[in-house]
């Protein structure tokens, strides 16, 4: 990734979108909108001082909303380029309120609230479409209760929970527990504030709030307005402390998730959504179960699937190793429903097709192996670029020219073409690069097919 930022032959146009393509193979004019970052690319050093000071917290998309970022942000820590960006929908200043704190802290004077989108035109010989995919939204399957049961997450969310650079620094803290911890933090903040007020009163009157309150309740200070106020403040403080103590007691029992269920084909091989197999999801469930077990050796995982598709070099061995060394049990069956049991534990109901029985099992967390869905903007982009899409809205190709779109000079690779894993994406990418190079290097595009 770093190489892309440094390579003299690569111009990186990040935070940009293609708006128009004109011409034909070998001679295409492309119009690109470079969206305003409100940060000068040539001045920003990526130091991150601004994000430390920005008061506006926003759910962090890179962490799938499991953590926060600031209104001024870098998409992720090692992101290329490291230039920061202000989110115009969230920034106080850009929404017409008073702020500008980032501009005051930025030593490089890189913040520019007046920056505008820029339009650039580029002449190229060919285009490669590599816009990838979106994660299928599992809330479309009501029986899995994603977003209703907090401890049911998607596989990509689980990747972020496993990651040392993620919101839990790699600990498998359950979302329900994290919600309680967030509540504790919130209440502690309140408690600190009310404690400060009480502290001043205690100093002034020379006794503790508890001692005072006992006397007050015994009727000692009737008609004393000052002490009436103190009593009110004390009552308010207690109304924070009581739930806080309860939550803290509950939190003492929290442990990391150790009983994991992985549910395959969520949206894939399902005629209500996508009839195709997304290809990589069986393998990423095996992977995530192996890594979870590496983090915590007591972890036991059950992978529920119609079959585990381990088609690829070294994949079947990987699957078997997971079963032998990482406490993975493979259950053949489709999950009918997920419900919520005690302690926010998801309960999985499924048919064990080997034993021909309907069973239920409780877990600490459930991970949904979501389908590879075509990326949202692809219909629009296909119109702009002038290519056809297939029945699912992946870029249309044919079996004998898997990286050629329906338009000469426009190629495709990776999940924009169809669901595929990283090794396949890379192979297709090299192949698309080669096809594009034929046009860039040969000035006579009509020779294109004669070469083969």
């Amino acid at each position: 990734m770093l190489d892309v930022g440094r390579h003299p032959n690569i111009e990186l146009l990040s935070y940009s979108e293609v708006e128009k393509v004109e011409g034909r193979i070998g001679d295409l004019r492309v119009t690109v909108r470079r969206k305003a970052r409100y940060v000068e690319e040539d001045k920003c050093t990526g130091c991150g001082t601004c994000t430390e000071k920005c008061p506006t917290a926003v759910p962090d998309a890179f962490n799938e909303g499991l953590g926060d970022r600031r209104a001024i942000y870098s998409y992720f820590a090692q992101g290329i380029p490291s230039t920061h960006t202000i989110d115009p929908d969230q920034c106080r200043q850009l929404k017409g309120k008073k702020c500008g704190i980032c501009a005051k802290t930025c030593q490089a004077e890189a913040i520019n609230f007046d920056q505008k989108d820029r339009i650039v035109e580029i002449d190229v010989a060919a285009i490669i479409v590599a816009v990838g995919y979106d994660v299928f939204d599992p809330s479309r399957i009501p029986e899995y209760r994603y977003r209703e049961i907090t401890n049911v997450v998607t596989a990509i969310e689980f990747e972020r929970l496993l990651s040392a650079s993620g919101p839990t620094v790699g600990h498998l803290d359950r979302p329900s527990d994290r919600a309680v911890e967030a509540q504790i933090e919130e209440l502690e903040k309140k408690a600190r504030k009310s404690q400060k007020v009480l502290g001043k009163l205690e100093e002034r009157f020379g006794e503790s709030s508890a001692e005072f309150h006992e006397k007050y309740q015994a009727g000692q200070y009737q008609g004393d307005q000052e002490r009436q106020k103190w009593a009110d403040k004390y009552a308010a403080h207690l109304s924070v402390m009581e739930p806080l103590e309860d939550l803290k007691k509950r939190a003492e029992g929290f442990t990391v998730a150790k009983r994991l269920a992985f549910i395959q084909c969520v949206g894939s091989r399902d005629f209500r959504f996508y009839p195709f197999c997304s290809g990589y999801c069986c393998m990423h469930s095996v992977k995530e179960a192996i890594i979870a077990h590496e983090h915590e050796p007591e972890t036991r995982s059950t992978i529920f699937g119609m079959d585990i598709r381990a088609v690829g070099k070294g994949f079947e061995e990987y699957k078997i190793r997971g079963g032998d060394h990482s406490n993975i049990t493979y259950v053949r069956g489709r999950v009918a429903e997920i419900t919520e049991g005690a302690n926010h534990n998801p309960v999985v109901t499924y048919e064990d097709t080997r034993e021909r029985k309907v069973k239920s099992q409780e877990f600490d967390m459930v991970i949904l192996a979501t389908a590879c869905a075509p990326t949202k903007g692809i219909i629009e982009l296909a119109k702009v670029v002038g290519i056809e899409l297939d029945q699912y809205n992946f870029v249309k190709t044919s079996p004998l020219s898997p990286v050629d779109s329906t338009t000469p000079g426009i190629f495709v690779c990776g999940c924009a073409e169809s669901p595929m894993d990283v090794p396949e994406s890379v192979a297709q990418a090299s192949s698309a690069a080669e096809r594009a190079a034929e046009i860039a290097i040969q000035p006579r595009p009509e020779m294109e097919h004669a070469v083969a």
């Binding site: 990734m1 032959n9 146009l13 992720f76 580029i122 490669i128 590599a130 990838g132 990776g414 860039a440």
Partner: protein, 55 residues
């Protein structure tokens, strides 16, 4: 002089295409709609089947 190429999307596929072309001496413009390149792979903890770090 070689002509130039446009790549739309800076995930692992777009990045690989860009590097291949650039190494052949062809000038590439890589358009990514998000603030940074990397795509989904940057979000992954490790990748199967070798469990190498994703980035």
């Amino acid at each position: 002089m070689n002509k130039e190429i446009l790549i739309i999307g800076g995930g692992i596929a777009g990045i690989q295409s860009a590097l291949d072309l650039a190494d052949m001496g062809i000038k590439v413009h890589l358009v990514e709609k998000l603030p940074s390149i990397g795509g989904k792979m940057a979000q992954l903890d490790k990748t199967f089947p070798t469990n190498d770090c994703a980035i």
